[in-house]
């Protein structure tokens, strides 16, 4: 089977503190994979390593068969990986439409061009409108992103992430801080996204995780202690112990 993501012996130290202590993880193409674990287990750090924000101390990371270890974030993005952030990370002073469009520009070949009007690139405009519709923000397209309600900002965060049409999408706690109905809306959105894509989700809401994921990896103190289908994870004693043992 083709692997969308493959982590081999990945380690990360901050100073002398080991945060990620040797992770091996294989996520096949098309899978919806969840990473769970108590606070401070290193979930966000793994995302930061995969997406190129941090450099790994040791180990290799492959994306769709290419070695992406310690490449720049933009290079990794161009190779087909996109991520969202736990803390909303949008372009605050630009409109909602423009936020999404920023995600579309590179993949439509606009690059750094300064000799064409972006509004006249019909492919870009249409793709942006499409994404906006899929995240349910078409009606708010012209509002500055900083003025959106929180749940809409989270949706926008996901919208920017999928705008570039990446094969592999990492979502970092997409439902954090959301109400029940907002969470349902987000789960539907993620389900739509995962059609034809590889989606990795870090999530605290177990309902969401067991609802969405085809396989789940459990991360505790920088190590993956189990990686299996939701049913088997539920019955895994090590997981139970790790979760009951922590205050989560």
């Amino acid at each position: 089977m083709n692997m969308a993501l493959e982590l081999t012996g990945v380690r990360k130290n901050f100073g002398r503190t080991e945060i990620i202590r040797g992770i091996d993880l294989k996520i096949p193409v098309g899978e919806c994979h969840a990473i769970i674990g108590p606070n401070g287990a290193g979930k966000s750090t793994i995302y930061n390593l995969i997406s190129g924000k941090y450099r790994v101390t040791d180990g290799r990371i492959h994306l769709l068969g290419h070695d992406i270890t310690n490449r720049q974030p933009y290079e990794i993005n161009r190779m087909g990986l996109s991520r969202s952030f736990q803390v909303t990370n949008i372009f605050p002073r630009m409109s909602v439409f423009e936020n999404v469009r920023c995600g579309v520009l590179w993949v439509k070949g606009c690059k750094y061009s300064f000799w064409q009007f972006v509004d006249r690139r019909r492919d870009v405009q249409e793709r942006t409108a499409e994404i906006l519709a899929s995240i349910g923000l078409s009606a708010k397209a012209d509002i500055p992103a900083e003025l959106l309600p929180y749940a809409d900002q989270r949706a926008l965060e996901v919208g920017i992430t999928i705008a570039c049409g990446a094969q592999v999408v990492l979502l970092d706690e997409p439902t954090s801080g959301m109400s029940h109905s907002e969470t349902e809306r987000m789960v539907d959105l993620i389900r739509t996204i995962s059609a034809g894509r590889t989606v990795v989700v870090v999530e605290h809401d177990m309902g969401v995780v067991f609802d969405l994921a085809e396989r789940i990896s459990v991360l505790v103190y920088g190590e993956i202690i189990a990686s299996d289908t939701p049913d088997k994870i539920r019955g895994n004693p090590k997981v139970r112990e790790a979760y009951l043992g922590s205050d989560n």
């Binding site: 933009y74 990370n89 920023c102 520009l105 300064f114 009007f117 972006v118 509004d119 570039c164």
Partner: protein, 421 residues
């Protein structure tokens, strides 16, 4: 093109203003001031490509402005001596732009890796180096004297000699118009949009596939091109370039202009350039303290109106877009704010002018002309009067400004209500 056309009205108006201004203001002084405005507009817009559009605070953008000026002057001089190929003087600003672009590409490469404070410090370093070099490389910069030229060289197509000032004005005007349109168009390109994105959130920009340093570098280079264009026009306008054109003061001046005008709106720098150039030309002769007022005004803007004048105006955009009648209730508080501010300003300016007079006066001179009145600075009453006016104004301002804010808030509440209804 449709995009540009939708703004056609504005551009036609701008073109008309540039075209017709000399018929309204015909004096040599007015012509010269308007020429300086044109140069200032180009330079300010170029600067705002960095500060407003790209989020880069530069203390050294005059380097590209000034260097382009020097190179243009040298080219003119060499042309006069017949040592280089003929290049139409009308197109010399392009040459200046290319000079700016060259140095912008070079220096931008090393200075745009980071934004924020690091970028600002590097720009300061280059600024100081350029200033020091003007005193070392005497043959090129000619030290503190700078370099003279004669712009009347070569053939005279259609009788254009750039002898008369009006021809120079139109040269500047046309280039100013072209530069305004070009820089506006740039904001509508993928590069322009990503420049904003990198300003807002460099991290996120990386994760949608953009190399932030490339975006900044490109912004820096293009901005240097337009700064160079302005520098060449400046050189042609004055037929002289001095070492101060590359220095920190010049960079600070354009920064002040742009910030006072407003960095968040395309029209802001234009507003700032026109206003500050006009005030410097007129008030500069009237009062020695002009630069002090200028600096105080800048500091006040930084603290209270970080969006500049254009920002203040645009705060009210929702009001006139929704219903201009909402403004009715705002008139009174705004008038109050204006009047109290004028009173405070009147008193403070009186005091500052008197201090200036006292510390710069010739022996035996005791009367300073304030607002048309001869005021005796040796009398305690003069000080008391202006001190009282200033204090009263400040106390009143502390009452009137909250009222201004309150009326704006209530108008915005109305706007919001109508939106949600």
């Amino acid at each position: 093109m449709r995009l540009l056309l939708s703004k056609t009205g504005v551009w036609i108006a701008a073109a008309a203003v540039i075209l017709l201004a000399p018929t309204l203001f015909q004096s040599g002084f007015a012509l010269s001031v308007m020429g300086q405005m044109g140069v200032a507009i180009i330079f300010a817009l170029a600067y705002n490509m960095l500060l407003g559009q790209g989020g880069m605070l530069s203390f050294g953008h005059a380097v590209y402005f000034g260097l382009a000026g020097y190179f243009s002057i040298h080219y003119l001089n060499l042309m006069g001596e017949g040592l280089v190929w003929y290049f139409p003087v009308s197109l010399l600003p392009l040459f200046g732009g290319v000079v700016g672009l060259f140095f912008g590409v070079l220096i931008g490469f090393v200075s745009t890796r980071r934004a924020g404070t690091t970028f600002a410090m590097i720009s300061l370093g280059f600024s100081e180096m350029a200033t020091a070099l003007t005193l070392i490389l005497v043959a090129f910069f000619n030290g503190e004297e700078g370099i003279q030229t004669d712009r009347w060289v070569g053939p005279e197509p259609f009788g254009i000699t750039y002898g008369p000032d009006i021809q120079v004005y139109y040269l500047i005007g046309i280039w100013c118009f072209v530069a305004m349109v070009a820089m506006y168009a740039l904001t509508k390109t993928p590069f322009g949009r990503m420049s904003n994105a990198v300003r807002d959130n460099p991290e996120r920009a990386q994760f949608v596939g953009y190399n932030t340093q490339r975006v900044r570098w490109l912004a820096f280079s293009l901005s240097s091109f337009f700064a160079g264009l302005a520098g060449a026009l400046h050189a042609i306008n004055f037929e002289h370039v001095g070492f101060e054109t590359v220095g920190l003061a010049q960079s600070g001046f354009v920064l002040f202009m742009v910030f006072i005008g407003g960095v968040r709106h395309y029209l802001g720098p234009i507003l700032g350039a026109v206003l500050i150039t006009l005030l410097t030309a007129t008030l500069g002769d009237l009062t020695q303290a002009w630069f002090l007022y200028f600096g105080i005004f800048f500091v006040v803007m930084v603290v209270f109106a970080p969006g500049g004048l254009a920002g203040l105006i645009m705060l009210h955009e929702p009001v006139w877009k929704t219903d201009i009648r909402l403004a009715q209730r705002m008139i009174l508080p705004y008038m109050g704010g204006l009047i109290t501010a004028l009173i405070a300003g009147f008193g403070l300016i009186g005091l500052i002018e008197m201090i200036y007079f006292v510390s710069h006066k010739l022996a035996g001179d005791t009367d300073v002309l304030l607002y048309g009145f001869a005021t005796d600075v040796s009398s305690i009453y003069s000080w008391l009067i202006y001190g009282t006016i200033a204090a009263t104004g400040i106390v009143l301002c502390r009452k009137s400004f909250p009222a201004v804010r309150g009326s704006w808030n209530s108008a915005m509440d109305d706007v919001r209500e109508r939106f949600s209804a």
